[in-house]
Amino acid sequence: MAISIQPYRQEHEPAVEQFNRRLQRSSGDPDLVFSKTAIPRWLAPANHNPVWNEFFVALEGSTVRGAYGLKQEMVFVRGKGMQRVACYHHPLSEGIVDRSYASVGVLLARDALARQPFLYALGMGGYERPLPKMLKALGFSLTPIPFYFRVAHTATFLREMEALRQARWRALLMDVAAATGTGWLAIKSAQAVARLRGRPMNFVAEEVAEFSEWADDLWNQAKDSVSLAAVRDANTLRILYPPRVTNLRRLRVSRNSAAIGWAIVGERRKDPKFGKMRVGSIVDCWASPENAAAVVQAASQVLEKADVDLIVSNQSHQVWCRGLESAGFLKGPSTFLFAASRKLTELLQPLEQNRPSFHLTRADGDGLPANF
């Protein structure tokens, strides 16, 4: 029977639940689930909202054989202005558990491209995972977003990492050890050396309930320093980080009472790969290049005061990477990828020149509700 891809409506919810059950039963993976509700819990479409989520289901008759989400948003591309793009997320296909439906994954990706040729995907867990492989075959360009970490409580960190024996973290620690030549316990001194390269800065960080006009000023002042960024004006920020969201903290960073930047910080949800550690994250941030390091320092200090064991951040812009390094962060291997469709890649040309000033963080894509 033919597969038809349609917007996910309430009447499809029971079929999606059955689809989820089939995937979970056959794969044994509890994470293989699509949204139980047709109306997205995060960023539901609303009048005049510049950013929203929408879901689609692949139907064989009344049976759901696949599904995916699109996060529709506006991005700023230097030299090209504003452009509507979409983030392709949570594609799930019956083909994962039943080879008769091997074609569904292709149909989902091509359907998304037909709906929005300026398409991207973010995260995905590394080049060897099925989704980035499929996107690469479809002509997407793939770029890793650098990953940084800073250990706040060395003893806890080492104990947990040793207990967990996480291959990725062990590899990362081995890299640090190799770089310093003194073993795992060199982490703290490596961080201290890195931090010495930075300089003390004069700033005040205050937690705010929501973003207002000052965030518009910052957006307008800094957007020409990036080659690509999702719009981060006050209106969009209020939608992404509304006052009711209490697990993410909105920081306004100022100098001499004038706002110089902002950051979103939060504690990541408990994740088996981090064991019992409390992991803080610099989720999102914005400032002119000259103030990026101050915002990183401010965000780090707030997280350290919150007593987290480890602080992590993914940042693609070279200025923010340098800011993290000057605040004592170390760079680790990244499995957080940015995949841009052919059309979007064309828009981002010259890619090699523009790539270092993409502004992509953990707040982009679809990761906010899943990780915090």
Partner: protein
């Protein structure tokens, strides 16, 4: 189904799925070939489109349930295309 189109697709599938050509028959499908997963299905679609200069619609991609059906589909597309 023309032997020429079938043979070309069999060679293509052999390369993609890493299976000797003699093991690929008209009945070979995602159920019988371990390597024929959703990514290889996409690669097969892209390889067919490039090799035969055709564009496959979603409905046609679904018809590719095995090598024989895929060959029939491509043959009908080639016949319908003015050369």
């Amino acid at each position: 189904m023309s032997a020429a189109v079938f043979d070309q697709i069999r060679t293509m599938a052999s390369d993609l799925f890493g299976v000797p050509e003699e093991r690929i028959t008209a009945d070979s499908s995602p159920q019988t070939l371990e390597a024929w997963d959703s990514i290889q299905h996409l690669n097969l679609v892209l390889a067919l489109e490039e090799k035969f200069s055709v564009q496959l619609s979603p409905e046609e991609i679904e018809q590719m349930t095995n090598i024989g059906e895929t060959a029939k589909l491509i043959e009908s597309k080639l016949q319908a295309t003015p050369r």
